[in-house]
Symmetry: D2
Subunit: 302 residues, 4 copies
């Protein structure tokens, strides 16, 4: 985690409404740093509350809050707030009704519907999931989650396994580093010459995409991790891999493997999404708190 | 895996009787290197058999074999061979009856009872599990298995986690290296000055055992991995750890934590044994084949 | 080094005129890959020439060449070609006179004067030093060169040394990775939140620039490596460092330290520029050959 | 460096007589930890003295000292103390004359002559250079020194270089780790199966010595580091290496390369000894202070 500033914490009031363990960790982390933090709709949380205040109702939670933090995702069905830590139902409109027009609000994975609803109430909701530093930080739990899945699925060690990583964005960079660190033999396929140069500099084997897709030679990899959200791995490539390869897709829809073809032909495919929240919710919550702090500092020192 | 020699493979006949996936991988690996390999009591194995021969009966499997390889463990109840890959029961005495006195035999985790039974038949069974290079090689799957358990159990990333490793034998060395590689903050507690020097040289924080056991300061670790088969972590140490610490014991009986005390006081304790066979049986099988090859070379070139 | 493509090498003729060992290595590397390579003005090179052709004169070297490769830097004094491997003087205008207007030419660190001279001859000279993949690849020899200087200058090991890296561009990324790898305790100061997230992900201690420049606390670092070409480290920061700190400036003019102040006050400052050519000319030549190959492939497959 | 104990420092008086920068660092490090430290014959040292006392004469330095620490090496010519930090000559017999019979004395690289001289005075001198934890700790500066030499000597980066390390003792282990860390392609040749297993576990390529010495295939390495003090690399092996290989011998006499043959045939051979004292005297001094502390604790708690 990152200590972002030597500067004193501004006298700031934060309200966190709903959300899962991540949201609770965000609340506790920020409270521990001296922010005044009130939460609502998290009443069944059984752990230690630290210096977080449980608000009696929505109005007292958000009243006077410098920033209102909605969950990730904001809703479960576009209408009801995502709030698994309470037994009550909270409608998103209830929350917006309780806010003052112009009050500062953020949330994770904000849909077009949520944006529209907010606009009706004179509210703008920023999406913290679109912040670059949060996406970078999330690459670490994603890479660890992918490693954990691979370890659980294959009957051999990752040490010495021949791994192919497709793409060289944030997740691929973190994943390639982690796999290399545990002793895998890692090849990374990328398009840009500068990415290939980084791959070499970072101790993996660079493979131009063109060299991967051309030809019909066998591709002797034990595990293929895809990070590119484009259907790049179809029948031609798949059929050149060993039949007992593990295909692990980390890319959002439509994914990178031709999942239908792969399943029909008996390949072992796993599509793993949203790993930080699933495998490391505490870390995910801390990462969100880092971004909230950045947001607040940006406000304070424009 | 290790290519042990540039020398030509001796014209050797090997018999593998019973065993699980590890034994099958050992058979296939050695067959692929040119050894003449016959197996018995593995008939339900559904994978690719490579150039391994299925013997019709025990006698034809072991007849003329330069080395007979028993499973790991040799028996399930001291009498019946450990042979989960067949539906038949094979008694260990049947195997010994089929052998010639003086025929060369090895197996894994050979009990006193097995040694005695063998002696009655004029047979000496060496235990490949006691070979140092096999124990070293097994430290890697053990460390990976421990990492996988830790990843599955804790709600945060190992990257950034504060890990304490107790002991600095084979498993501890491999584990400390792996944890450091994935970005954990690793402290290793050891007794010998030279071990503390190695710990520092290898990039972990050395902690003399005396400094760990003395005093009453809190021990701020997220995960404690024990590798020492002695009850070294009792009430005094445990009560100085955070209540949500993960205690992962990798040591054989009696283990290193006071498991009873820890459970009574609500600690999260996991005792994980025989990880190579459980989490990476293919690697475990290859490691056994490495040791078999060493054994055969030692015979050939004394 | 990077094998950039599985595609066949185009039937290409290359001419390399002048240059130092790097240029010779570029010539040999490309010749070894099947390119037809002629060189001129490198006649005193005493090593193995491989399949490189020594042209008798400029005209025969460049005649029909698909690409003419000038040295790095192109000239030593804006007029005479940089050609330390010959005893002759070659004027840049001689070279341009020998070329056909429109002939494809590249070179390293092409000055405005060289561009103007080329334009007079109807020639466009691209600068391979401005290619991103070359700059990335050069970060590795730069980082190693910096490590070598640090090792030679300080009376303690880099293992365990407290190092501060300023900036997080290409060189800083490679340097931070290398220092961490040899066991240094590495802090990296950067401005952007996403850079701080990468620094944490990559196992170094992230330090916001603002936290570095504010306050008056002592800065306990043994070595400070600057990579930012801006005067960011003046009297205030320098005076908070230990008096025996090593200051190693890797940034081009004006550098990042206030060199005058530092020297006047007895600090140990080293300003190291153009490290790849100085400490690893063979690697630098291979990196140039990688970029030449990319250039040629871009031409062929637009 | 290692904090060896949570226990309080015994009220101990130490005398350090003669020696170079290492001895001075040892004195300062121990004084900073609360030991009462007097030095003699180091009067020209121009750096900061910390809380070290300069004794006026030998008698006052050693009088009442719980441990007298002689330099490394003890003498320059068996008679005169190794004391480059003074302009005076100090005879070893003078030192022994000033001691009480039975007083505790240690030193580095104690020769048979020094032992005999001491015995004449009723003194036993232990040799701290023979302590295992000191030898382990010294492997780090030795490995860094070897890396620094290699970097300075070869015209390419160590990243990507094909390195062969001979032996797998302390120095070889530290060196293989360091070379791997900076991105070299590292093969380690060893004899024992368990060493080969460790080499694989640690991410290097294991090569059995027998495979190295048999056959007549070319050995494509850029740099060969020897750590074995036996003439194992003679004409047969050398002639299979590339003519521009760098041979770096780290082994004490007689070294591991056939130096005469290598030089006669134009190979580039460097024999680098006593690297810690040469390349990292401050670290070497701290390592000695660690061992002194261990010695003192052993005395106190037998």
């Amino acid at each position: 985690m990152i200590t972002t500033s030597a500067s004193p914490t501004p006298p700031c009031k934060l309200a966190l409404i709903g959300g899962d363990l991540r949201q609770m960790v965000t609340a506790k982390t920020l409270a521990a740093e001296g922010y005044e933090v009130a939460v609502y709709a998290m009443d069944t949380y059984a752990g230690d509350w630290g210096s977080v205040t449980r608000a009696a109702d929505l109005a007292s939670a958000v009243g006077g809050a410098d920033l209102v933090i909605l969950p990730l995702p904001v809703t479960q069905d576009e209408e009801r707030l995502h709030c698994p830590l309470t037994r009550h139902t909270v409608l998103l409109t209830e929350v917006f009704d309780a806010l003052k027009p112009g009050q500062r609000v953020t949330g994770g994975k904000v849909s077009a519907h949520v944006h529209a609803l907010a606009a009706n109430h004179g509210i703008t909701v920023t999406d913290y999931l679109q912040r670059e530093e949060l996406a970078v930080a999330n690459a670490v739990p994603t890479a660890e989650g992918a490693l954990a899945i691979a370890m659980a699925e294959v009957p051999y060690t990752i040490h010495g396994a021949r791994c192919l990583v497709l793409g060289y964005g944030r997740v691929a960079k973190a994943l390639a580093k982690t796999l290399t660190a545990v002793g895998a033999n890692v090849t990374v396929a990328a398009r840009k010459p500068e990415d290939l140069a980084w791959i070499d500099a970072n101790g993996q084997i660079p493979l131009p995409f063109s060299a991967l897709t051309q030809g019909d030679t066998p591709l002797n990899y034990d595990i293929v991790f895809n990070t590119v959200p484009e259907q790049i791995i179809g029948a031609n490539l798949l059929s050149r891999l060993p039949c007992d390869v593990l295909l692990l897709d980390l890319a959002s829809a439509p994914g990178g493997f031709d999942h239908d073809w792969a399943k029909q032909h008996g390949y072992h495919v796993i599509w793993a999404l949203s790993l930080p929240g699933k495998t490391a919710p505490v870390t995910a919550g801390r990462i969100i708190s880092d971004s909230i702090r950045y947001m607040l500092n940006e406000e304070v020192s424009p």
